[in-house]
């Protein structure tokens, strides 16, 4: 197993930092899957421990100038590592003005992702900062646990409104109750509501875009006004919204009535899928 990559372009470094920053805000610990073309950050919680699933793809070519890897074997040319994204972020946070960053898989006393940062100086001497981020190697037999989650047939898909205003609203709703009902329809409407003994609050968005459905056939008879809804943990939703350090080009919310809430974030080349556990009602 071998991995080394080098980031040189300053805008790539900053973009990489922001993307990792976003990931670290919503995931404490996850699996980093390294393939010849892509970095994946994967979280696949068991239902008993929360049931969150996150799948994030970073095409390496958009970030790395040099990229070399050998997987566990020729057939399975991949590496699976368990990492704490926040540690990686800490390591590259110093690199905002760096000439280059090298990331290597090393074996010190334990397996590490070693981040070498070359910082600019006024004199001829170079300043090299080295961080060792401990990781653990995920054995081959565990790999099937980290497959891309299958997408169910969604009842509704809708583009989310501006994250910034949505964040305010969800933060306020968080102070009222623990769970929030998310509802949307094919008429471009999105509804967020909380309700307690004391108060019920609901916010309505109109004129949002419904992305075109790939398979129109199965539910053509569905009324565009009919809402599909699901109840989710408000703190998790707030955390997801406040973690955004990049303003994504597009955030799509997909709902399977009372079963699944799935967010799909797309920002330039990076994509992130977030399956948020639904609270049974």
């Amino acid at each position: 197993m071998r991995f080394r990559g080098k980031l040189v372009d300053i805008s790539c470094i900053q973009h990489f930092t922001r993307v990792l920053g976003t990931i670290s805000k919503i995931i404490k610990s996850c699996v980093l899957r390294i393939t010849p073309t892509t970095w994946y950050f994967i979280l696949s919680e068991k239902v008993v421990s929360g049931g969150v699933q996150i799948w994030c793809e970073l095409p390496q070519g958009h970030f790395f100038d040099e990229y070399a890897m050998d997987g566990v074997s020729a057939e399975d040319n991949e590496i699976y590592l368990e990492v704490v994204p926040e540690n990686l972020v800490k390591a590259i946070r110093t690199a905002q003005a760096a000439k280059w960053i090298k990331i290597k898989l090393t074996k010190k006393h334990a397996p590490c992702l070693t981040v070498e940062v070359d910082l600019p100086t006024v004199s001829a001497h170079s300043r090299l900062v080295v961080h060792d981020v401990p990781v653990s190697v995920v054995p081959h037999r565990m790999w099937p646990d980290y497959q891309e989650p299958e997408l169910p047939q969604f009842d509704v898909s809708i583009c989310m409104p501006q994250i910034k205003t949505l964040r305010n609203i969800v933060e306020k709703m968080k102070n009222l109750n623990n769970c929030l009902t998310l509802a949307a329809n094919y008429n471009g409407e999105l509804k967020l509501s909380v309700s307690t003994d004391m108060v019920s609050v609901s916010t309505h968005y109109q004129d949002l875009v419904n992305p075109v459905r790939r398979d129109m056939g199965s539910d053509e008879d569905r009324e565009p006004q009919a809402f599909s809804e699901a109840k989710i943990d408000i703190r998790r939703f707030a955390q997801f919204l406040s973690g955004q350090q990049v303003i994504p080009n597009r955030v799509i919310c997909n709902i399977v009535h009372k079963r699944v809430v799935h967010f799909y974030l797309q920002h330039e080349d990076v994509s992130l899928q977030y399956f948020m556990p639904v609270i049974a009602t």
Partner: protein, 281 residues
């Protein structure tokens, strides 16, 4: 449109209907008295009065006169109910509480009468939020019987200089002692904390003092924990009137100007800390 005609018919059923272009005019005033969860709301043709009390010793009143609203209809002489102020404020500020230039949240507030919830409809940038807050059985509020004819000492001053004195109060002290006198030191605030006593003196000929009408020397103590919440009103206000009557009761009246230059008042009443000497009389 069917919806809008239906709404205007519906409006007839409310005993109280108030509309406002900028919800911040109401929310900032209410924040100034938000030191307890439950508030009592009195609506009359003059406007709204919201009262918060604590420990039967302190009372805060916020007055939002009818002219603050651009539409204000009340069908009864007086309407009153108790409401959870924390929840009310969360609802009023659901779109965020900081001022964003060019964006304001409009509010429609309706109440259909005894036993009905308070309905709020907020709108910002085409996004609608409906809130329905349960109202509670009103209790009797304290009557401090504070008559202006019994006032012995009175000062009107700019809030600025009091702000610092109040926000830096030594909270290890149980009481705040207020001395008002026609002779030096005129106006003195004292605390007696763990690390020593402090005295802040305000000369009567200071630019900050706009009116000084003190007839006899009065020294009274007030529980600092009861007075501390009034800092919220103080920081918002432009001017403050400090009055103490012959029983030692304290009245603080704050003049608060909103972004449109309209003036609202918030007042605090506080009873003096029981003095051993006086208790014997």
């Amino acid at each position: 449109m069917a919806l809008s005609t239906q709404q205007s018919n519906d409006d007839d059923q409310y005993v109280l209907l108030a509309k406002l272009d900028n919800v911040r005019h109401v929310s900032t005033i209410l924040k100034a008295i938000h030191f307890k969860e439950i508030a009592t709301l009195f609506a009359s043709p003059m406007g709204l009065k919201v009262t918060v009390e604590d420990a039967k010793c302190v009372q805060a009143n916020a007055f939002i006169q009818e002219s603050i609203f651009h539409h204000y209809i009340i069908k009864e002489e007086q309407v009153n109910f108790k409401i959870n102020l924390t929840v009310l404020l969360e609802c009023l500020t659901i779109f965020g509480s900081s001022a964003v230039p060019g964006v304001s949240t409009s509010l429609k507030m309706c109440y259909a009468g005894y036993g009905c919830p308070l309905l709020l409809i907020l709108e910002e940038d085409g996004v609608l939020t409906d809130c329905s807050i349960k109202t509670l059985e009103p209790d009797e509020v304290l009557d401090f019987n504070f008559l202006s004819t019994n006032v012995i000492n009175k000062i009107i001053m700019k809030s600025e200089c009091l702000k610092e004195a109040f926000s830096e109060l030594d909270m290890t002290s149980d009481v705040l002692q207020i001395l008002l006198s026609p002779d030096p030191p005129y106006f003195r605030l004292s605390t007696f904390g763990n690390s020593g006593s402090t005295h802040s003196d305000f000369p009567k000929d200071s630019d900050m003092v706009e009116s000084f009408q003190c007839t006899q020397t009065q020294t009274n103590r007030y529980k600092i924990s009861l007075l501390k919440p009034s800092v919220k009103a103080l920081t918002l206000s432009a001017r403050v009137s400090i009055r103490i009557d012959n029983r030692g009761f304290l009245s603080l009246q704050y003049m608060i100007k909103n972004e449109d230059g309209q003036v609202c008042f918030v007042e605090y009443y506080c009873s003096p800390d029981e003095d051993v000497d006086e208790a014997e009389h």
